[in-house]
C-alpha cells in the first residue's frame, strides 16, 4: 500500500488533449473519487496511473517512487474495470489466482490468498464456477477479490457499479467502502455519479475537460464549490446561479425557502414566481423565476412537502422566498468563487 501522486500529467491523443495537467496527491489509505462528466478524461487518467496508457508529459509517483517508465505489471496496482474484465475461460478460483500466478507466488500461498480474498467477499461457494454462471453482483465481487488478492499498492476502480441495477448499486457501494476501510488500501475511484462520489469518497476530485476543478471532502465540494462548474455539476437539482451586478450569486435549492421558513436573522429576500412543481415523495421541487432577474434563469427550490402544502404553491403565483446569507455563494465573472461568502 502506498500513496499515489501525479505531477502535471498531460495526455494527448493526436490533436485531442484528454488530460490537461492533473496534479493530484492521494495519501496512503485514502479513498479518492474522481468525479466528472463523461469524456472529461478521468478514465484516461486512471489508465495512466495503472500504466495502460503512457502520459505525454508529467510524472507519476507510487509510494514515492517515480514509475513513469515502469510497466503495468511492476507497478503493483490493481484495477477493476467497468465490465469487470473477468477471464471467461477460467473458473472463479483461477480468475482470482491469476494475478498471483503472474508474479510467481508459490502454489501453497496462492491457495491461502485465494481463500482469504474469497472469504473477505463471501464468494467461497462460487470458486468452481465460470464467470458466465454468475450474476452481475457476484461478478463484481469476483473482480474485487481478484483486485484485492495480491494486496496491491493502490486499487483503481473504473465505474465499477455502472453495470448493476439501482438496488444492488446501493448495497455494493457500502460493501466497496467497507472492504476499502478494512483492507486500508489507497483507492482511486472513477465515477460520473455524484451520489457514489459523495457517499464513498474521503475526498473528491472534480474533473472537467482534463483538468481538476476542485479537490476536497464531500462537504467542501458541496457547500463551498470552487467555481460554477463544480456548483452546478454536484447536487441534484444543481445549485441555482443567477447573474447580479456583473457577478454571480449561487444558492442550493434546499436553502431557497418560503420567507417565513427562514429562521436566521440575516437573509436575502426574493420574489419567486412558480412555473411548475414536482412532487417526489420526500421533497417537492418547484421551478420558477425571480423578480428582477433574467427570466431565462430558471431557479429551483427543494421544499419539504410536510411543511409546504400543494395548494399553497401553484403555477403562476408570486411568493416571497428567501435564502440565509450564510448559504449564499458568490462567483466572479470568470465563474470562480470569490473569497467573500
Amino acid at each position: 500500500m502506498a500513496a499515489v501522486a501525479t505531477r502535471d500529467i498531460v495526455k494527448k491523443f493526436g490533436e485531442v488533449t484528454a488530460v490537461n495537467g492533473i496534479s493530484l496527491n492521494v495519501p496512503n489509505g485514502e479513498f479518492m473519487v474522481l468525479l466528472g462528466p463523461s469524456g472529461c478524461g478521468k478514465t484516461t487518467f486512471l489508465r495512466i496511473i495503472c500504466g495502460l496508457e503512457r502520459q505525454t508529459s508529467g510524472d507519476l509517483l507510487i509510494g514515492g517512487d517515480l514509475v513513469n517508465d515502469i510497466p503495468p505489471r511492476a507497478r503493483g496496482v490493481a484495477m477493476m474495470f467497468q465490465s469487470y474484465g473477468l477471464y471467461p475461460h477460467f473458473t472463479v478460483r483461477h480468475n482470482i489466482a491469476f494475478p498471483l500466478k503472474t508474479q510467481g507466488v508459490p502454489r501453497a500461498e496462492i491457495g491461502r490468498k485465494v481463500e482469504w480474498a474469497s472469504q473477505l467477499l463471501g464468494i467461497g461457494h462460487l470458486l468452481d464456477r465460470r464467470p458466465r454462471q454468475l450474476s452481475g453482483g457476484e461478478r463484481q465481487r469476483v473482480a474485487l477479490a481478484r483486485a484485492l488478492v495480491r494486496q496491491p499498492t493502490a486499487l483503481l476502480l473504473d465505474e465499477p457499479l455502472s453495470n448493476l441495477d439501482a438496488k444492488l448499486r446501493t448495497s455494493a457501494r457500502q460493501e466497496i467502502k467497507q472492504f476499502q476501510q478494512r483492507v486500508g488500501v489507497t483507492t482511486v475511484y472513477v465515477t460520473h455519479d455524484q451520489v457514489e462520489a459523495m457517499g464513498m469518497g474521503d475526498r473528491i476530485a472534480v474533473i472537467d475537460r482534463g483538468q481538476v476543478r476542485q479537490v476536497g471532502t464531500p462537504s467542501e465540494i458541496y457547500d463551498n464549490p470552487a467555481d460554477r462548474f463544480v456548483a452546478t455539476f454536484v447536487g441534484a437539482p444543481p445549485m441555482n446561479i443567477v447573474a447580479r451586478n456583473g457577478s454571480y450569486l449561487g444558492f442550493r435549492p434546499e436553502n431557497f425557502l418560503p420567507k417565513d421558513m427562514v429562521k436566521d436573522a440575516a437573509f436575502t429576500e426574493f420574489q419567486f414566481r412558480v412555473d411548475r412543481s414536482e412532487y417526489l415523495g420526500s421533497e417537492r421541487i418547484v421551478y420558477g423565476v425571480l423578480e428582477g432577474f433574467d427570466a431565462k434563469e430558471v431557479v429551483t427550490a427543494k421544499l419539504p412537502p410536510a411543511h409546504v402544502a400543494e395548494e399553497w404553491i401553484r403555477p403562476g403565483e408570486w411568493h416571497p422566498f428567501a435564502v440565509r446569507d450564510a448559504a449564499l455563494r458568490h462567483f466572479d465573472n470568470d465563474g470562480k468563487r470569490t473569497s467573500r461568502r
Partner: protein, 309 residues
C-alpha cells in the same frame, strides 16, 4: 333471426394469408436447401454405398452384391495403406502449417500500419485465385529444371547446382511440396478466423490481464488463445474436412507421385473408380473418408461445446 344470421363471420379466403404462417413460410424457404442436399449429396452418397457393396465396374455394370469384399480388398492393399497414411500427413501437416502462418499473419495485420489494407487484400489472394492457376504456378516453382526456389537457394550458396533438390521427384519433398501449397491456400482463411477471434476478445479482459501482470506471451497463450480456441477449432474442422477430401492440388501437381508418395484418398478413389473404371473399389476407397471425418468432427465439436460451457 335475420340479424343473428347476418352476424356470422364470413370465412376469409382460406389461402390468402397462407404465407403469413410461420411453419408454411419456413418450409418453403428451407425447401431448396434440403432438396439441394438430398439430390446432390444424399443421392451420390447412397450410390457410393451401393457401388461399394457390389462388383460394379464400367466394363461389367451389373449389380451383384458382394458384401464387404471390396473393403477387405482395399484394406489389405499396401498401396491403399500408404494412401491413407499420406492423407493424414497431408491433412494435418498442411493444417498445422496453415494455422501457424494464420496466427502469425493475424498478429501482423491486427495493428494498423501504413499499407495495411493493401497487405490485407494481398493476403486474401491465395484463397481467391483459382486453384488450378495457382497450382500451375507452384508447379513451375518446384520444377526440376526451372525452379525459382532452387535458383534462389543456389544464388544464396545454400546448395550447389548438382545438389539442388528435386522437389516433386523425391517422395518426402513431394509430400512437403503439396503440404506447403495447401497450407498456402489455407492460411488466408486461418488469418480471417484468427482475426475474427482476436478482435472479439473484450479490451477490458486484455487490460485486466495487463494490469494483473501478464506480459505479451502470457496474454497470448493464457488469455487470448484459450478464449478464441472454439472459433479456431471450428475453422480447423472446416480445414480438415476440405483437405481430407481434396484431390485438386495432388492431381494438378504430382498425380499422386512419385510412386504413390503423395496419393491421397480423394485422388486414389478417383483414379481407381473413374480413370481405371473399377467403380466398386473406387467407391470403397472414397467411403473410407466417412468414418475418419465423422470421428474427427464429432470429437472436435464435443471439445468446442465443453469449452463453451
Amino acid at each position: 333471426m335475420v340479424a343473428i344470421a347476418d352476424s356470422v363471420p364470413k370465412p376469409v379466403a382460406r389461402f390468402r394469408f397462407i404465407l403469413d404462417r410461420r411453419n408454411v413460410l419456413g418450409s418453403i424457404m428451407i425447401a431448396p436447401a434440403i432438396l439441394y442436399v438430398l439430390l446432390l449429396v444424399g443421392v451420390p452418397f447412397l450410390m457410393a454405398v451401393y457401388y461399394s457393396l457390389s462388383a460394379y465396374t464400367i466394363y461389367d455394370p451389373s449389380w451383384s452384391f458382394v458384401g464387404l469384399a471390396n473393403f477387405e480388398d482395399v484394406v489389405q492393399d499396401p498401396v491403399f495403406q500408404q494412401t491413407l497414411y499420406n492423407t493424414f500427413i497431408f491433412t494435418f501437416g498442411s493444417q498445422m502449417l496453415g494455422l501457424i502462418l494464420g496466427k502469425f499473419g493475424a498478429l501482423v495485420l491486427l495493428r494498423p500500419f501504413p499499407g495495411r489494407k493493401f497487405v490485407r487484400a494481398l493476403v486474401i489472394l491465395p484463397w481467391a485465385v483459382p486453384i488450378a492457376l495457382a497450382t500451375v504456378a507452384w508447379q513451375w516453382m518446384f520444377d526440376s529444371l526451372y525452379s525459382v526456389i532452387n535458383w534462389t537457394l543456389i544464388a544464396l550458396g545454400v546448395v550447389t547446382r548438382s545438389q539442388a533438390p528435386n522437389w516433386l521427384g523425391t517422395p518426402h519433398l513431394a509430400m512437403l511440396s503439396v503440404i506447403v501449397v495447401n497450407a498456402w491456400r489455407f492460411f488466408p482463411f486461418a488469418i480471417v478466423i484468427f482475426l475474427a477471434g482476436i478482435t472479439a476478445v473484450p479490451q477490458d479482459v486484455l487490460d485486466a490481464a495487463t494490469v494483473d501482470g501478464a506480459g505479451f506471451w502470457r496474454r497470448n497463450y493464457q488469455i487470448i488463445m484459450p478464449m478464441i480456441l472454439p472459433i479456431v477449432a471450428i475453422g480447423l474442422v472446416f480445414g480438415i474436412v476440405f483437405t481430407f477430401t481434396d484431390l485438386s492440388i495432388v492431381f494438378l501437381m504430382t498425380m499422386g507421385g512419385p510412386v504413390g508418395a503423395t496419393s491421397v484418398l480423394g485422388f486414389a478413389g478417383f483414379q481407381t473408380g473413374i480413370v481405371s473404371g473399377d467403380v466398386s473399389h473406387g467407391a470403397a476407397i472414397s467411403l473410407f473418408m466417412l468414418p475418419v471425418l465423422f470421428i474427427v468432427v464429432v470429437a472436435m465439436l464435443r471439445f468446442i461445446r465443453r469449452r463453451e460451457v
